[in-house]
């Protein structure tokens, strides 16, 4: 969080009386991605696909379909002597390594920076025999990053519409690492999956795994605290059309039709 000196100053104050004002405001602006139209995947890391992210728009929870949830996961990094900013730097630098095996996170070469993409290749449901039937290729955009936190926003077609904020902070003399999501399932298929097909449990397991893996790098084995609050139980039926960009459906159809494309010479490198 910014201290008193970092705060923006009123626009009415003449610039020459506050020589550092521009620098302070610029520093704060640098924490944010630049306004954009559609997402452009200028750099696609080896092994990643720009499918279901190139050309999409980022979406906040109001663009989604399902119930609005705030989910918070945090772990105490007991006896860690590093400052929150040091832990956050390590987290950013090694972000993909903390994911469970069924999730591949592939950042661009600039890493976790505002405006950069993190490509994702995941299995939505991790159940015996079902994992390979629920593939999803997409990604997220880093919209905000400072020394102690960063936030990603999802694109159209992603399982959830909203934000995830990753942060490290001090409280009661201890250091905590936290993941907080504010999101709605993007369309009826995802909402059904979250409620009845283990999607929510999978999400809980994922973030628990991430935090415990981060803590393990510091030699810590603590439990993850988890709270969830339903902020709006209603469904947003006006957004039911989001289903047309459903990344899971598109990825599944693409994989299922791969043999046909091979047979008829369509190649295998086209995007779903």
């Amino acid at each position: 969080m910014a201290d008193e000196q970092d705060k923006p100053v009123s626009k009415e104050v003449p610039e020459q009386e506050h020589p550092n004002e521009d620098a302070m405001q610029q520093a704060e602006r640098d924490h944010w991605a630049r306004p954009m139209g559609h997402i452009r995947a200028d750099e696609v890391p080896p092994g990643a696909s720009s499918a279901n992210i190139e050309g999409r728009d980022v979406v906040n929870p109001t663009h989604g379909f399902g119930q609005l949830w705030r989910r918070t996961y945090r772990i105490r990094l007991k006896d860690v002597q590093s400052a929150p900013a040091e832990v956050m730097k390590y987290w950013k630098d090694h972000f993909p390594e903390f994911q469970p095996d069924e999730n591949r996170f592939l950042p661009t070469s600039d890493g976790v920076q505002p405006g950069e993409l993190v490509f994702i290749d995941a299995k939505l449901i991790n159940a015996p025999g079902l994992g390979n039937l629920t593939p999803m290729t997409s990604g997220v955009m880093v919209i905000y990053a400072d020394d102690e936190s960063f936030t990603v926003m999802t694109p159209e077609g992603f399982p959830v519409s909203g934000f995830n904020t990753f942060s490290v902070y001090e409280e009661d003399g201890g250091i905590f690492a936290q993941v907080q999501g504010l999101e709605r399932a993007t369309d009826p298929i995802y909402e059904f999956g979250y409620r009845f097909m283990g999607g929510e449990t999978k999400q809980d397991r994922t973030w628990t795994h991430v935090l415990k893996s981060l803590a393990a790098r510091y030699g810590i084995d603590e439990d993850v605290e988890h709270t969830k609050t339903c902020l709006d139980p209603s469904l947003q039926w006006q957004n039911v059309g989001n289903v047309w960009k459903n990344a899971f459906v598109r990825t599944t159809l693409y994989k299922a039709t791969t043999p046909v494309r091979w047979l008829f010479g369509g190649g295998s490198d086209k995007k779903p």
Binding site: M1, K7, K11, R29, T165, Q178
Partner: protein, 120 residues
């Protein structure tokens, strides 16, 4: 369970009325620490049964990405309660944040209180 510590410059929200519009004059910082204050402010505003709720950000010092998430939560509650949400007093930088996060798709942004109140 409260997962957030206390802010050094907490959010303060003062309620005013202008015909069918309830105005929330916000000051301080809108970040992860402002969760309860924002919730409380919205509940007090909604209790006045307004047609419109104007969030006045003119005296807000700082908003981070967690603060944006809190505003999204207020938007969801306002839509649930059929209250039209408006904003005014956002600096150019914070207006840009509203565009980046696409909050501006759902919340009209006015330069000042007068123009917000004059809007149809």
């Amino acid at each position: 369970m409260n997962l957030q510590p206390v802010s050094a410059n907490p959010l303060v929200a003062i309620l005013r009325q202008a015909d069918a519009t309830t105005i929330l004059d916000l000051s301080g910082e809108i970040d992860g620490f402002a969760d309860e204050a924002m919730d409380d402010a919205y509940m007090r505003a909604a209790a006045t049964n307004p047609q419109r709720l104007l969030l006045n950000f003119a005296a807000v010092d700082y908003i981070n990405s967690t603060g944006i998430a809190l505003i999204v939560a207020v938007l969801a509650k306002a839509r649930r309660d059929k209250i039209t949400l408006l904003t005014c007093g956002l600096s150019e930088h914070y207006q840009e944040m509203f565009r980046i996060t696409r909050l501006s798709d759902f919340i009209p942004v006015f330069p000042d209180e007068e123009s917000a109140l004059a809007a149809p």
